[in-house]
Symmetry: C2
């Protein structure tokens, strides 16, 4: 498993001339790191120092989000490995026989199914990164000010995981023939990128304000 490798070895695996692990796995890692940084800020905030001075409603939100982030860290961690095999079915399908019309038909269908699977993994990654960004905002507003830079880095990373994963959705989408499916995914890509950009700008605005 990739996540059992050392940080150094993982980076050397990325660097190698093997296409996996590539941008897909790295996007999931970025998302997981982003969630982990906000979770750390939560650990340095909840129940510490002047925590009781934070409005109760916001404390509840911090605590709920803290728990949700904990799950997202692990979800994104598993996508690191999942992404590196997401394209396997496409490769297998391309190797199927294509001598008869029936074989050609089956092969083509399997290729299409493979591409759908290959793009649904980074799509899931993008959704988890967007969710992470969503949860991070309250940490920027009410998290321990000494750790405000960590919220900033976490936001940059979660956003990179989102846009990075969407690159991988888009490239695989180019091979999809099912127009209805393609339009549905294109819409989801566009909407989540817009929402993510908006959230990132908003959170970084708060970070810069509290930093100054």
């Amino acid at each position: 498993m990739l996540i059992e490798k050392s940080v150094k070895d993982f980076i050397y695996e990325v660097k190698s001339d093997n296409p996996t692990p590539g941008g897909g796995s790295v996007s999931a890692l970025a998302g997981s790191l982003g969630a982990a940084l906000s979770n750390m800020v939560g650990n340095l905030t909840i129940g510490k120092g002047k925590y009781e001075e934070i409005p109760e409603e916001k404390r509840t939100l911090l605590e709920i989000n803290q728990e949700k982030l904990s799950f997202l860290i692990d979800d994104l961690l598993s996508i690191i490995d999942e992404d590196s095999t997401a394209f396997d079915d496409v490769m297998k399908a391309f190797k199927l026989p294509k001598s008869t019309e029936e074989e050609k038909q089956i092969r083509s269908e399997k290729i299409q199914l493979g591409y759908k699977k290959a793009l649904e993994v980074p799509l899931k990654c993008a959704q988890k990164c967007l969710e992470t960004l969503n949860l991070q905002k309250v940490f920027a507003e009410y998290g321990n000010v000494n750790a405000i830079t960590d919220v900033g880095v976490g936001t940059l990373l979660a956003y990179s995981g989102l846009e990075g994963a969407l690159f991988n959705v888009t490239i695989n989408l180019k091979s999809i023939k099912d127009e209805e499916y393609r339009e549905k995914i294109e819409k989801a890509v566009k909407e989540s990128l817009e929402k993510g950009k908006e959230l990132k700008e908003e959170i970084l605005g708060i970070v810069y304000k509290r930093l100054s």
Copy 2:
């Protein structure tokens, strides 16, 4: 060493209530991953397929940048660990005695020296990430088109490493009393952030164009 830990354990170390490893180390990791992705694209481009069709001048640039990226990966890898101890001198200095005027003077000077050291580590990280972005452009333009999404993710990561590291420079700069030094660093922060943003936008523009 942090980089000898597994990816999973590293993320759990970030998540913990210990402030290190935090955003500084994660920024260096992001930069190193960004450089590694472009290096992989180089490995999938140089000498492969239609490589000879790329203008000679650009092939030379790809090969030079490929080598430089290889060094940057390792430089940024070592900053992951360096950053986690960058603040140690500040902590030590705060524990120095402050009974006499002379002790107060020494303590204050050591604190200032500590903050300078603490900010020079992320400043170096930011410079290495900016250099990575600079080298990445030609991979976006002439790299293997099948790996164009990897250049995209690499760019997002190198940029996150840059802005993330600069957060850490800025927060430590607030404690520096030497006005001349502070102004010099503030200028460097502003300039490298502007340059990095410009490069990121430019590279991502090329990525989206080649992706469509």
